[in-house]
Amino acid sequence: MKSFILDIKRNKGLYIILIPVILWFIIFAYLPMFGLIMAFEDYTPKGGFLGSKMVGFKHFMDFFNSVYFGRLLRNTFLISFYNLIFGFPAPIIFALLLNEVSNKVFKKTIQTVSYLPYFISLVIVCGLVADFTASDGPITELIVSLGGKRQNYLGQAKYFRTIYVLSDMWQGIGFSSIIYLAALAGIDQELYEAAQLDGAGHIQRLIHITLPGLSTTIITLLILRMGTMLAVGYEKIILLYSSNTLKTADVISSYVYRKGLEEFNYGYSAAVGLFNSVINMALLIISNKLSRKFTETSLF
């Protein structure tokens, strides 16, 4: 505590700048956190946080004992995992490839175009995905002409995750690559010129200059990504799944959403949400630790 006060004294200017930010976090992020108490009660809107019946860990036990617990965990994890290993590097590679383009008009065109899908609302994107993968949709036609089977691809359990991840990538690559492009633009051109004089090839320059230049950005985003590992949003899942794909598509959030639909059970939803948050926090802390150990970059 003493050293904290000393720190404040020493960095008075910085702490003054920080005050409004800290205040904002206390009011709009920490104050509402009292609401997490809902996870331990049969919350009713009328009863409020203090007036509702406390039920302890009942909601957690209900969730762990649900016949779907294992399946939900697996689906959530797998979708996140595929999204991580395919969806995370994709914008980096895209940015690097774009960076190799010297024709300005071409580069700008591709970049602008890549960014468009981000603006189409999720409902529409899912509608397009369903149309395009229906048994007479353009994508299905393409697969059939390549010798594939004519069927409704979105309706098949084994293709659900592929379609989910690919459509996510389609929508997000361009927008996510912006941050990397900005970082690439920030790398000192003199470094490249010096390397070139030393006779370094393109590959060497990529490895020794470009990637290290991007590394902080990449690692920061990767750690953040780990923290949202199990946070697969329900909206897209619900828009895409059907009774035939539930076995691969149903995730924790969509389950909670359906539960809420049946019973308006805020307590249960809060409990599952809390469970999700705890796991995410663990993942975030672990990846932060690993990152600090191996790359000297960390969030905190």
Partner: protein, 532 residues
Amino acid sequence: MKTKKTLALLLSATLCTGLLPVTAAMAEESEKPEITFPLEEPITLTAWRVSPTSDPKLGITTFNDIEAVQAWEEATNIHIEWQIPASGQEQTNFNLMISSGDYPDLIWDIGQYYVGGLDKAISDGVIIPLNDYMDNYLSDYNALISQNDFVYRDCKTDEGNFPAVYFINTPDQGPWYGMVIRQDWLDECGLEAPVTYDDWHDVLTAFKEKYDAKAPLALNPNAGDVFNVFSAGYGVGVLGASGRGFINVDGTVKFSPIEDGYRDYLSMLHDWYEEGLIDPDFYSNTSFVYVPTDDLWATGNAGAWPDIYSLIDMRPYMGADEENQDMNVVPIPAPVKEEGDQLHLRQYNFTRGTGTCAISTSCEYADIAAAYLNLGSQEKWAWLAYYGVEGDTYTVEDGKPVYTDKILNNPDGLSANDAMIKFCFRSAGMYIWDRELQTAGPKALQAINEVWPSNADGDYMMPNITMTSEEANRYSTIMGDVNTYVQENTTAFILGDKDFDEWEDYVETLKDMGVEEAISYQQAALDRFNER
């Protein structure tokens, strides 16, 4: 969306265990001063109500933009300040309004949105029971619901409260949902209208062969067929929005998806799926709930489907492609196993509608509010709401209100239905639903009055029951998983991914999930309803 509403409807439905003892209200009656409209001093009431429309072309952003509402305001001297939630987010907005503890004077639609039912809304201190007003300020409403014993009980709760002023269908409403078939295809194939499932099989096969239809029968066996019109012949209901699979066989509650009839029904659908008689993609068409999507009916891919009565006459004009502009869609009775079978599952003749309006505990002018809500049960006021201003939007012919061309052939090109929304509103009390028949086509009238009721009644449908909050808690915990399991397996059985040898396992699993416990809660609630 549908399931949510239906559950809210079920939960909000009322029961009562006994007659309310005569209360002090009777004695007080004489002391209540009379309230006459228009009031001498204008007052303002606040009200929460779901938006009349979100259609931008009507230019209605709040109820006060509607001429009939303005006419009510003038005639009562009561100004209403509306709180209108954004469309599609009503439940969220409602829950937040309730949690904030800051209630408007009048809460419309509370029956659909209050989680746990209206008895709970009263015990939670959100709304006031109207019992004390039934014999004085609400006397016309009281008279309206007293006409029918079933309705009277239905408008009361378990605890004997009158929680709100309900919308009472005036007159009774027939089934507005049922099967339709393309008569032009039947004629071209030289076939009679099918009666039994076997007839249907032959007709659908003919459709398949002659027109290469993708889905001769457009049906969504999971979410769709909300009123069980296709499964009724097997004596079972489906999980669709309205039935949720529970049926009431002469006072005994059954959960259809574990009944043998359901297995036989699925077995038939499985055969039909194999033969290509139903939509091969049915399981992925999630937007097919009440009526088939355009890619099925509008493009000659479907020959029969469940439909809403008012849409039948409009079918070809609603977007059929060029080859199907001449389609002749007609209503047809639900299929039966044997000719002459009487069916007991179809849309119920609900005499009590879903609409409600309650008075909140924050209302300072509860007496006036009650008297105000009573107006909708008087014909003259109900007409002012549902038909608008006499001479402008309606005239009286033979003692009956008839819309003028301002509604029926709107000069600004609005459809009759849009014009009704723009100029009229729905007041609580008499719900004059049959006004829409003035715009209904001949086939719609035939469907609702003759064809669909012809071989079916609603005897097996569950009435509006209410569970206690403990029951409701357990029930919903169980049913969330059960419904998912049933949906998944319904699809698997139809597709053949699961063999019917596994039926017993499937039923056992459902029992392990506690489906019998859930049935017992439904049964208890039904018993309370029937015991009155």
